[in-house]
Subunit: 362 residues, 2 copies
Amino acid sequence: MKKQEKKPVKELEDLGRKLVVDIEKGRNPTIEFSLRSLSNVVFDTKTKTLGLGSKQQQRTFFNVGHAKKFLQTLEVAKVSKTLLNVGKHASLRDVFYMAKRTLPNSNTNIVDDQSESDKALEDLELITDCSREQLHINANKMGSVAGNVIIEDAGDTINWAKLGSGGWSIPSNVEDIEFKSVKAKYVIYMEKQAVWERLHEDKFWDKQNCLIVTSQGQTTRGIRRLLQRLSQEHDLPIYVLADFDPWGFYIYSVLKFGSINLAHMSETMTLQNARFLGITADDAVNYDLKKHFIKFKDVDLTRIKQLSDYDWFKKNKEWQRQFKMMKDFGAKLEIQALSSKGITFISDKYLPDKIKKGEFLD
Amino acid sequence: MKKQEKKPVKELEDLGRKLVVDIEKGRNPTIEFSLRSLSNVVFDTKTKTLGLGSKQQQRTFFNVGHAKKFLQTLEVAKVSKTLLNVGKHASLRDVFYMAKRTLPNSNTNIVDDQSESDKALEDLELITDCSREQLHINANKMGSVAGNVIIEDAGDTINWAKLGSGGWSIPSNVEDIEFKSVKAKYVIYMEKQAVWERLHEDKFWDKQNCLIVTSQGQTTRGIRRLLQRLSQEHDLPIYVLADFDPWGFYIYSVLKFGSINLAHMSETMTLQNARFLGITADDAVNYDLKKHFIKFKDVDLTRIKQLSDYDWFKKNKEWQRQFKMMKDFGAKLEIQALSSKGITFISDKYLPDKIKKGEFLD
């Protein structure tokens, strides 16, 4: 067994043993764990992340309202234990199909819909204090990375600086990666693959001694964990490069402060030292990009109002200034608008200048 | 200049010279190329691909209806020439912003919307007989690959068999890749990254001597070209692994027979020796997967009717049988339903058996 598999295996076995004791002593088999509902999601002002509060919930077997969920929880625990035993990983969809069986002498399926196995798995994360990834259940695979880093993974030694125009394809699960050498001062994380290809072709990571990471759209758990490990284990600041629009701000918000859905995972999923590099309202002015504005739709205005009410943005003057300017512009702006200044403007001028001057939002 | 850049540069220069001659001789500057409209899209029964017919169109400068498009075409030609000159690549979105300027002493922008520069670029592909990628304009980056292949790309030597759990991240543009060593009997292309991770963890490519390629959703141009180059330059059959649903069939259809949108690129974008490996209606029966059926929605039925009317499927008994069975089931089935048979069932049993028995649809 790999050393990182010891904890999840022990936690799953402890869960099983605890229930056996309940049964042997004639008690109602009971699992207790933090309440995962909006009423128990709190913003921790110290760590500045969304997490769960102190409320607990109980799941018991002899309870008409609990029995099916109880069974589902144990079923995904069994699936996870099986995966750990054979050293394999599965996707959420696989877990659904592995758990989907009809109970003998009945018409009842253990799960009918993936949302049921997904929820049971989120509960299991809380019960075992292990992430889905540690339980050998993978998130989506997405994204690429390049830079002066050497890792060991699945028996291979991989140099992220020597992978041509493609880069390394980030797996859904990065728990088992070992960092052998990390030569970089910071990480730039960007939503758009096309921007990543721009920086990669310009050898930006080589010239600026940094790492470049991209997903496509919302940040997957694999990428978050990769960024978090680089940040925590190698003390690298994470700079977020996104469009100047409510969605770009939201991506940053989730990365840094967490989200309601992942409140139970805030310790392993949030990036407390992430900083927003751009595009900002000031960039639109300073780099003469207003002519590339894209007009707001109603939904954009709604989103900006929601964002500006978030606990972590509410008292932040710099962010409130951004929201106000965006509302006054009534428009958003894409990173790629920088290409109007020349194809390598972003690599040669925009990013180096902003980083040198320390123009970040926190 | 790289040898693969000679043709696009020459074609762009020829276009410019031709127009200069028109001007010098007092003629109306004119560009002629194949008509790109539905009326000129034909199914070539010999090559079995969708392509353009013989109708031509003219674009002239002194013509109120043509002048703006004429200018747009030349503008993207200029952007492409600039990119080739400096050895850089750009995304479609970049090209839009690079072309977007206000004409002096007017309120008219060369392009107002990306669809305009995209269309101009498709025309330029026809005019120069060079793909967007050859013109240094990139498609979306997506997908991963693994297997016993060594390539050279952007100065690096990359072994696709030694890239840990992530694999090589496929770039948007694979024109410049050099294959140094290709040890494989076939390629499996799958839509779902999660299935790719399953096969990769099981070292399927190593055990079966093949390559595994994935995108996520519809196949990008970069991936199509990669598959096509592997198929043409190394004579590898391409096996398509997709869900048993209209969308999965459609992915196969586009890969093999082309699409209306890309009719002008059918030579470089279609895979004449692709074969559909699964999931088929017969698999649902043979592997006892009917209990994992997902009921049809109205849109599924509509799509199946459309698919069964496609020229290339209409007279194909095997495909018509699939369509009929799917309609009779009134249901679709996901690849991951195979996980209900055990996590490595797909790698250990399903794929090896199907390939051994040659159970393909063509």
